[in-house]
Subunit: 160 residues, 2 copies
């Protein structure tokens, strides 16, 4: 899960071009490795390793969970894959597309709001001015309470 040297993100069009890139880097394209890519291309959202190993619950052949983890790490080093953590729970893996999504996670209802990085640029700028800190919300999200839950909470407080 923890990648030593995650390379710069690479957006591949499809499994074949991803496979070609692997070979360019001197890596082999085995059946198990191709399968991880196929699953990631099939579901365009972040998934846990277990779900990949299950072949999306049967839509693809099952594969060994240990190998899935190893391949995800390799793919992340190459830059084809990124992983993120949404609160507690397992890491989630997805194809790296050019500009990574960023996330707002509600702790009350577990809702995840996906936003494009530009929407957080002002927040990022503010943090940079204040602390010289370059914030990223693509690997770990912003955590708190979403609008719905906040409204609900204050309603309950007014009328218990």
């Amino acid at each position: 899960m923890t990648v030593a040297h995650p390379g710069p993100a690479v957006a591949a069009r499809d499994v074949e071009s991803a496979a070609a890139l692997m070979r360019e880097r001197g890596l082999r394209v085995s059946a198990a490795r191709r399968l991880v890519l196929e699953v990631l291309f099939a579901t365009r959202e972040p998934v846990r390793a277990e779900r990949i190993a299950s072949g999306l619950e049967g839509r693809f052949p099952r594969s060994d969970l240990g190998s899935v983890y190893r391949n995800l790490e390799t793919l992340e080093q190459v830059g084809l894959v990124r992983h993120l953590h949404l609160g507690h729970g397992p890491g989630l893996y997805a194809l790296a597309d050019g500009r990574p999504s960023e996330y707002l996670l509600c702790e009350s209802c577990d809702a995840v709001r996906v936003v494009v990085p530009a929407q957080l640029d002002r927040v990022r700028r503010l943090l940079h001015e204040r602390f010289g800190f370059e914030a990223r919300f693509s690997h770990f999200p912003i955590v708190g309470t979403c609008a719905d839950c906040a409204r609900r909470a204050s309603a309950e407080q007014a009328d218990p």
Copy 2:
């Protein structure tokens, strides 16, 4: 680790007043439970459960790790304790003082910058205006690159 109903934060002056509060809530103050409190009062920073169970490496009697976890959960429900997660790695537990600290975590060097909530109020306001989202950085930190590492990275890029 995951607390069902974390009560409102309560700041206790010392172990005895914390113990008194426990009894007020109808909870018992056993030796093991008092020990958790003593360790938390002795070290004023967030610590992992394992470190509590070890009695801060021998300064206090060792206790059972399972019971430590159970007691931390109970203490968190009462509001005396809060836990946080700094990136990967185990959860960290600390006494709840009135206004919880918030955190900036650097992914390159693992440095943790502790800030008082007021320093992030503009960030919070911005997020609330944009998304109606109430962000907290006390349970999960803001993750990114600290000023030092950012400087180092751009220096390396200029002079490789």
